[in-house]
């Protein structure tokens, strides 16, 4: 049990270390680097011309991609344990997983047919 916790203590430590490094570097940089405010330095970069108004936002297409992704991601979640135990579980598990995959594949096929995967 303690080993188990130590494993994840390692994860925590690593995250901490990562943060420490990022912070440390930036701090060091802060010591060294100059700061020279200039009138236009903080203007949004837009290829040299004045930034034009209007806030952009994405296209619904992206959302559909994300959606598909979530669905299959979830599938993967079930596949992994299955993959680990496949040997002991045997044919029955295999079949039920194939069914599972096929059903989800139907979803992909449907999306494909609906032309979600195409632009416009």
């Amino acid at each position: 049990m303690t080993d188990y916790y130590r494993e994840y203590l390692a994860v925590a430590v690593l995250i901490g270390a990562g943060l420490a490094m990022v912070g440390g570097m930036l701090g060091l940089g802060k010591l060294i680097r100059p700061t020279r405010p200039q009138p236009q330095k903080y203007v949004t970069y837009e290829a040299g011309s004045d930034p034009v108004g209007g806030w952009g936002q994405s296209n619904v297409r992206y959302y559909v991609y994300a959606l598909l992704f979530v669905m299959f991601d979830v599938e993967a979640v079930f596949i992994f344990p299955w993959a680990v135990r496949l040997e002991t579980l045997g044919v029955q598990a295999l079949i039920s997983m194939i069914v599972f995959i096929v059903i989800l594949a139907l979803g992909l096929v449907y999306a494909w047919r609906k032309g979600v995967l195409r632009w416009a």
């Binding site: 959302y63 959606l67 979530v70 669905m71 991601d73 979830v74 079930f78």
Partner: protein, 99 residues
């Protein structure tokens, strides 16, 4: 660790979620609050699973996560639909859709 720590934490999260669902009007935020509640449920499941030393809780947590994902997918799609028709993601002016 006593079981109750987790249960109470879950309860608090759940209630915050409830508050969000009631008080928020932006559809996306309502969905987020729902996610909070589902997380609370999951914590409960896992806690009990650990308490009873039985994987059932874990399995159901998996299922819940799955369902949650699906729910967000559809929910956001609906919000988008609303946005598309009303040009605002707010759920309050749904009345406009009536009749």
């Amino acid at each position: 660790m006593i079981l109750n720590q987790f249960l109470v934490l879950a309860a608090i999260l759940f209630c915050i979620g409830v508050y969000g669902v009631l008080a928020r009007r932006n559809g996306v935020l309502v969905l987020m609050s729902v996610e909070l509640m589902l997380n609370a449920v999951n914590i409960n499941l896992i806690a009990f699973s650990a308490y009873l030393r039985d994987s059932a809780g874990n399995v159901f947590a998996l299922f819940v996560i799955t369902i949650a994902a699906a729910e967000v997918g559809v929910g956001l799609a609906i919000v988008l639909l609303i946005y598309r028709n009303l040009h605002s993601p707010d759920l309050d002016n749904l009345e406009q859709l009536k009749g």
